[in-house]
């Protein structure tokens, strides 16, 4: 059950649609903005104070940056003739310093909110353990702060915009409602994707009229998202949670199956939600960024991270990896190494250092705890190793005479990547590191199932009945074949269906609709209908 499938939201969205498509173009952005803020309040039950502050800081610092940039340009244009080359350079430096200062202050303010809410307890915990190790026992009370809804996402989205303005990639936005909408846009606020200003905000400028075609596509996406999230993910949850919380009660093969399904559950949950968000947004005429591209068909971990949570990785690449890599320190290092003739190292060392930083922070973004950090860092480490030993690896393949362009080899790499991702998931799925290691040990010792019974292989789900289990597995298979189709044809299935006759479209719609309506687990307040003989 998510907000996107609740009756309340659907009714409100329909009302939004009616108003949105009737009002003149000028009013569309303010209406979306009001709806987004209302949505924020409806979901979090709190006023979006921190989001407002972030919006204000972002808006003002971007304008200030623009002012300085424009000021620099006019100054230099006016005095072009009078100044010498050196004087010009000096002026540029001065302006640059000012711009950098404004950017840094803006970034610090915005990130400090995120840091405060998300990482204070983590920092305090670690500080206290550190002090304890040094013999000082300091008591501290966990603050247990509740994160403002969406703070991880809107902070990154806003700071991306600020950096884009600094880099002169986009001009600062003078229209405050437009910027505020960019920060708070409701389909993205809870789980992303992290949008880019040039691609998202430019859509707010256009007039959006009702399109039946977009409505069909949107509904199709929403229903497909429901299949993924409500049928696959929500039904796999008891299986996965049971194993992650009580792994010692299970056999090695059960842990293995559970972890393999965890990857599916995570994908179905996250991408299903993305599909719903995307569908609703599409109906309004706004396309949000792609966040998943059939990630489990990746042949390497590096490729996986180009297909999984794309908007986050892309953000880290553009706003962290490149700046770190192109920083004076690392550029100098590279130069030095090249000068000494170490061309490989000159390329690799700065790359690896940048990657280490990015993946450390990626892990940290996912959670304020060591397992997540270790998980992120491990991903980075594995990719660093595969880059470093790429040539050696090719050599081994050649020696073993493996046909690297065969379909079989590709399948092998796909399976290997999935297993690698599953293995990495061990790190942060269990309560502590020790638990992860224990669970892994149990799995390694006994990977073969003791019984081949449904209740042994699928604990947790089976409690919901054999029909639920069958439907879940059927949905998983459907997901697999749909993904396979999309991977092979490089086209989204629903787009392909929309090109067929209206009868085909109607049939698909009815099939999806009833599959979801009949089998999607309802909310906690499902009707207590039923034909029960015994009292319970």
């Amino acid at each position: 059950m998510t907000v996107f499938t609740s009756a309340g939201f659907i009714i409100l969205f329909v009302l939004l649609m009616i108003v949105y498509f009737v009002v003149p173009k000028k009013a569309q952005t303010p209406i979306l903005l009001a709806f987004s803020y209302g949505f924020y309040f409806m979901v979090s039950r709190k006023l979006p104070v921190y989001m407002l502050i972030t919006t204000a800081v972002t808006y003002l610092s971007a304008l200030l940056l623009q002012r300085i940039t424009d000021g620099q340009k006019t100054y230099l244009d006016d005095k072009k003739a009078e100044l010498t080359g050196d004087e010009k350079k000096e002026i540029k430096r001065k302006f640059e310093k000012r711009r950098k200062l404004v950017l840094v202050i803006g970034l610090v303010i915005n990130f400090s909110f995120l840091a405060f809410f998300k990482y204070t307890d983590f920092l305090l915990d670690n500080a206290c353990s550190l002090l304890a190790n040094l013999g000082l026992n300091v008591e501290h009370q966990a603050l247990n702060l509740v994160l403002p809804l969406g703070i991880s996402f809107y902070t990154f989205q806003s700071t991306g915009y600020m950096i884009d303005v600094y880099r002169k990639k986009v001009a600062a936005e003078r229209n405050l409602p437009k910027l505020a909408l960019f920060v708070s846009y409701f389909p993205q606020i809870i789980e992303g994707p992290i949008g880019r200003f040039d691609r998202l905000a430019s859509q707010f400028d256009q007039k959006h009229s009702f399109s039946f075609d977009r409505l069909k596509k949107g509904i199709c996406l929403i229903l497909w998202g429901c299949v993924k999230k409500l049928i696959i993910a929500d039904n796999l949850a008891p299986l996965v949670n049971g194993i992650s919380e009580n792994y010692s009660q299970f056999g090695g093969s059960q842990i293995l199956i559970g972890m393999l399904f965890y990857g599916i559950q995570l994908y179905a949950d996250f991408s299903g939600y993305m599909d719903m968000a995307s569908g609703y947004s599409k109906i309004l005429g706004i396309e949000i960024a792609e966040n998943f591209r059939r990630p489990y068909f990746s042949t390497s971990l590096a490729e996986f991270w180009r297909r999984w949570h794309i908007s986050l990785c892309s953000w880290f690449k553009d706003y962290l990896f490149y700046p770190v890599f192109m920083s004076k320190g690392l550029m100098k290092l590279g130069k030095k190494l090249r000068a000494k003739g170490h061309r490989e190292a000159a390329k690799n060392v700065p790359t690896f250092i940048s990657m280490a930083v990015v993946w450390f922070l990626t892990g940290l973004w996912h959670g304020a705890c060591w397992p997540e950090i270790v998980w992120g860092f491990s991903n980075g480490l594995i990719m660093i190793f595969s880059l470093q030993f790429a040539k050696a690896y090719d050599g081994v393949n050649k020696a073993l005479r493996i046909k690297t362009d065969s379909a079989v080899w590709k399948c092998f790499r796909i399976v290997r990547t999935y297993l690698l991702v599953t293995l990495l998931n061990f790190i942060c799925t269990f309560a502590t590191f020790r638990d992860s290691l224990s669970a892994f040990a149990i799995m390694i010792k006994n990977p073969v199932p003791a019984y081949l019974s449904v209740s042994y292989l699928f604990p947790g789900i089976i409690d919901r009945g054999i029909v639920t289990l069958a439907v879940t597995l059927l949905a998983c298979l459907t997901l697999f074949f749909v993904s396979l189709y999309e991977e092979k044809k490089n086209v989204l299935l629903y787009e392909a269906i929309m090109k067929k006759s209206w009868i085909v479209q109607g049939l698909v719609f009815i099939l999806l609709l009833f599959f979801v309506l009949v089998f999607a687990v309802g909310g906690e307040n499902g009707l207590s209908g039923g034909f029960m003989y015994a009292q319970f």
Partner: protein, 331 residues
Amino acid sequence: MTHIKRLSKLAAVILAAVIVGGLINFALVPVMYEHWAQHDRNGYSDRIDTLIVGDSLTMYSVQPSLLDKNAKCFSFNSATAAQFLDESYYLIKDFIAREHIKTVYLGLDYYRFYNVEANDENGLSDIILKRLNDPGVKAEYLREKFKPDDIFDLLFRSRVYSDKITQAASNVKTKLSYEYRHYLPLNEESSYYDRGFVLTYRNEPETEEHDIDLANLRTAEFDMLKKTVELCAANGVKLNVFHTPMKYARMDSIKNYGVFLNAMLEMSESCGFRYCDFNYYRGRGGLSDDTCFINSSHLNGRGSEIFMDWFCKAFTASDEECGGLFDYPTG
């Protein structure tokens, strides 16, 4: 594509969806006693002057035909499986509004008085909703119970019964049968018999113990009971409350049943209704644990016949006589 063409295609798809939805409902929504019960109630509407409510304990035990003979009334058994006390309240209210009710027999279930989460919040029940004929009572029930997300379950009942898909074929067969369509009893193990009563001769010899402690009872339940008492008093309806007998071994496994019993006896005194717990009927030994029960707590058809004899005796007797029929533990 012209607008008319497009609209008619859309209409065709929507119509197809409604038909498919109806077919799925027909196949998945199980055969339920509601089908007969509602037909009976509507058929006898003007004559019903006595109402029986409660959960499945009552549904399998109280036979309107036998009650009518002894109490000279025309009764209807609107007990349903897992009926909560507030649902009984709404049913009573509905029958008072629509029929000429003079007497109500309310069957209790000790489990409802047990402090467990499952008893705390019962949501909207489509079965109860359907059984409410009076628009005013229905609206009140909805106001109290309806949550926006219930709308999916209400519009498309198959959602609630999706796990019944394996029985879809036999379900459809039954629904198309002559008996079903003409509201005749099915030739089944537990079939609807007459005016809400369900007859079965199923019999499980084993007893399942119920290891619970009734020392701390749910006050909400007593509040609801009080509300029911007030409702009946306000409408000049005589309220009788009872508890059906269960197997001895089951009875023994429940801790502090006496707390529940005494609370009920006290309440019956202070609120002025007759309460009869048939676990303590002086002829209790006449009900064989082996043959008269479906399972540890529900009477079957054989048990019900014997029970109805006691039931009628107890409720047609005077207060004094009735007291003499029961052997409640003192202290």
